[in-house]
């Protein structure tokens, strides 16, 4: 399949009073057409910032994209003018945000928020746009869509709002949807509803998706390929099956081990990853995970590990990844 999106060596930084935060520090990944790719990693490792960088919506002037390329359908998005970029946003690439509660404008009706993108990008008239909006709401499973257009976000439940975000993203038939933790704010039953919907749509309409999350269970269920991020870098990449069955980075391994699982017998103790996530403005010289790593060797604290490619594109950035192969996941 053809590459739809290729992020190459992306670097995004924030200037803060505490120093330069390297939120995304040389990240590369790609998304094929129609594929669902996951980006996982713990809180604050730079997942959202990398997605915002693709949309060029990093909060300026504090945040800046300082390097790399974002090639979408053969064009480097970073080289487009603001006007050209505006056409890409919403039209070619749509984004679903983490917080459905705050990401919808509380004072505008659902209809208004759904139709404005259609009017701008597809040049639809108000009537056509509303018809399409009703269709979209129906598509995401909101009952009685025609009546809903006149309602306001606060009259929707959390799950409905999240579905409304999905409908908004689907509006202009984008080629790629960036879904930034689309279900974190929802409880399990609603989470399942929304994710099933997304997967279904992506299959039917052939939309490519980048799902950002830190829920490993979600990834396991919905993603084709997985990128694991830690402290602004991709530290492991591969197909979902490989990553779960054969993690090659101690962080991935630790992550998989630390969560209790319903399908396992109850353990007496969980195995946490000890220590704290690193401060992105003061990263150590070597591997960022080294201070917490049980497999640390001397080289880890001095030299950043190189990305080593294993079988079939399974990559991991760890000096000792080879020796991890035998470790049991749980």
């Amino acid at each position: 399949m053809a590459k739809l999106l290729e992020v190459k060596n992306l670097q995004t930084q924030f200037l803060t009073s505490a120093g330069v935060v390297r939120a995304v520090d040389g990240v590369s990944y790609d998304v094929d057409e129609g594929e669902t790719v996951a980006l996982v990693g713990e809180s604050g490792c730079g997942k959202s910032v990398s997605a915002l960088s693709i949309m060029r919506l990093v909060a300026e002037p504090a945040g800046r994209i300082v390097g790399g390329e974002i090639v979408f359908k053969g064009r480097d998005l970073l080289k487009l003018s603001e006007e050209e970029m505006r056409d890409v946003r919403g039209r070619d690439i749509a984004m679903i945000f983490q917080e459905p509660m705050t990401s919808l404008n509380p004072v505008l009706t659902i209809g208004r928020q759904l139709t404005e993108g259609l009017e701008i990008h597809l040049g639809m008239g108000p009537a056509a746009a509303s018809a399409r909006a009703i269709e979209l709401l129906g598509l995401v499973g909101i009952p009685d869509p025609a009546r809903r257009l006149a309602q306001y976000p606060h009259q929707f439940s959390g799950g409905m709002r999240q579905r409304m975000m999905v409908a908004m993203a689907l509006g202009c038939n984008p080629a790629l949807i960036l879904a930034d933790e689309p279900t974190t704010a929802l409880d399990v039953t609603i989470q399942a509803q929304v994710l099933e919907l997304l997967q279904d749509l992506s299959r039917r309409l052939g939309v490519a998706m980048l799902i950002i999350t830190h829920n490993l269970g979600v990834v396991a269920r919905y993603a084709d390929r997985v990128n694991v991020m830690y402290a602004g870098r991709i530290i492991e990449r591969g197909t979902a099956a490989e990553i779960y069955a054969d993690p090659r980075h101690p962080y991935t391994l630790g992550l998989l081990r630390s969560v209790p699982r319903l399908d396992e017998p109850i353990r007496a103790k969980l195995d946490p990853i000890e220590g704290q996530p690193p401060d992105l403005s003061r990263l150590p010289p070597g591997c960022a995970f080294a201070p917490r790593c049980a497999y640390r060797v001397e080289r880890c604290t001095e030299v950043p590990p190189l990305a080593a490619c294993g079988a079939a594109g399974h990559m991991s950035a760890c000096w000792v990844s080879a020796s991890l192969a035998k470790e049991p996941v749980a």
Binding site: E42, S43, G44, S157, G158, G159, M160, L186, D187, V188, T189, I190, Q191, A192, Q193, E196, H214, N215, L216, G217, V218, V219, A220, R221, A240, A241, Y244, A245, G254, L255, L256, S258, V259, P260, R261, L262, D263, I266, R267, K269, L270, D271, P272, I273, E274, Q276, P277
Partner: protein, 324 residues
């Protein structure tokens, strides 16, 4: 159950909305609608359920942060609902809380030392300043923090460290019962396990009793002795964790369990899931009969007419379903 540390009987909490000085309330939110359970000394009761089903409100009623509309909360033989403000202050030492959000549950303007020393001083647990400092260090050590952390402000700590401070604050009062309201939900997966281990460790060392509120079923399974499943202000099912997870009786419990994704693509590929239809109904206008019936995959006519009581279907396994 005579060895119960806490016994909640027919707890009801309604929130009036839209009422004012001159106008009648336009409605009530039935946040809790007749909940009963008890917790034995030294055990952990897990409380799960969808968002908005009344878990937090139950916890807050037990803490007497909300006055219940009706029902009783008997703690160590005393009905807390009947106490006046002064008596309550004394009992409150024994019931403590750990909040979900480690970022906002610590006063940003106080140092960790001040936060921990304040209850000691106010309740006269340690009257002497030196003793207090000693106790603060002890508490910090107990939750795995360093003594020098006492001079720090909350914002200078990470989320996991803050949650530890929250636990230490609860411990400072030497409580018998701790209400843990989603203590790990806001934490990073890599830190979650640290905190859960700490809670378990403290329980075994200090003989604490926990009411553990969460919506992550895997975590609840790990930590609880017994589990109660709530739906829309009512208890749907209550049993030992093994019973709940292995042989759930209530269709809602089954749906919940099947919705939890398992971090293993191979298993996920095979698993069958019951995706519930529809939304959580509003607590303003709960459905008639069994509140779950509009979403229930196996509902029958009777479910919309008759409210199912919480029945002991097997010994120690309670469920509120006509079809269980």
């Amino acid at each position: 159950m005579s060895d119960a540390l806490l016994e909640v009987r027919d707890l009801v909490k309604h929130f009036p909305i839209g009422g004012g000085m001159f106008t009648k309330p336009v409605g009530v939110v039935r946040a809790i609608d007749g909940v009963s359970f008890s917790i034995r000394k030294g055990e952990t009761l897990g409380l799960v359920g969808e968002s908005g089903c009344g878990k937090t409100t139950t916890g807050r009623c037990i803490l007497q942060l909300e006055r219940p509309t009706s029902g009783s909360i008997v703690f160590e033989g005393i009905d807390m609902v009947t106490l006046d403000a002064a008596e309550l202050r004394a009992v409150r030492r024994r019931v403590q809380v750990i909040f979900q959000d480690p970022y906002s549950s610590l006063n940003p303007r106080m140092t960790i030392g001040q936060i921990l020393a304040e209850p000691l001083k106010v309740h006269g647990i340690r009257r002497d300043k030196g003793e207090r400092e000693l106790r603060v260090r002890e508490l910090l050590a107990q939750v795995g923090l360093l003594p020098q952390h006492d001079k720090r402000y909350p914002h200078q700590l990470s989320g996991g460290q803050r949650q530890r401070v929250g636990i230490a604050r609860a411990l400072a009062m030497e409580p018998a019962l701790i209400v843990c309201d989603e203590p790990v939900s806001a934490l990073d997966v890599s830190i979650q396990a640290q905190i859960i281990n700490l809670l378990e460790d403290l329980q075994s060392r200090l003989g604490l009793t926990y009411l553990f509120i969460a919506h992550d079923l895997s975590v609840v399974r790990h930590i609880s002795d017994r589990v109660a499943v709530m739906y829309l202000g009512k208890i749907a099912e209550l049993a030992d964790r093994k019973a709940i997870y292995d042989e759930p009786l209530h269709p809602y419990t089954r749906a919940l369990l099947s919705a939890v994704p398992i971090p293993d693509p191979k298993i996920e590929a095979k698993r069958e899931r019951t995706v519930l239809r529809g939304e959580v109904p509003s607590a303003l206008k709960p459905p008639s009969g069994c509140v779950f019936h509009p979403r229930c995959p196996i509902a029958v006519d009777r479910c919309s007419a008759e409210i199912p009581p919480l029945r002991e279907i097997r010994p120690g396994h309670w469920a509120a379903c006509h079809l269980a």
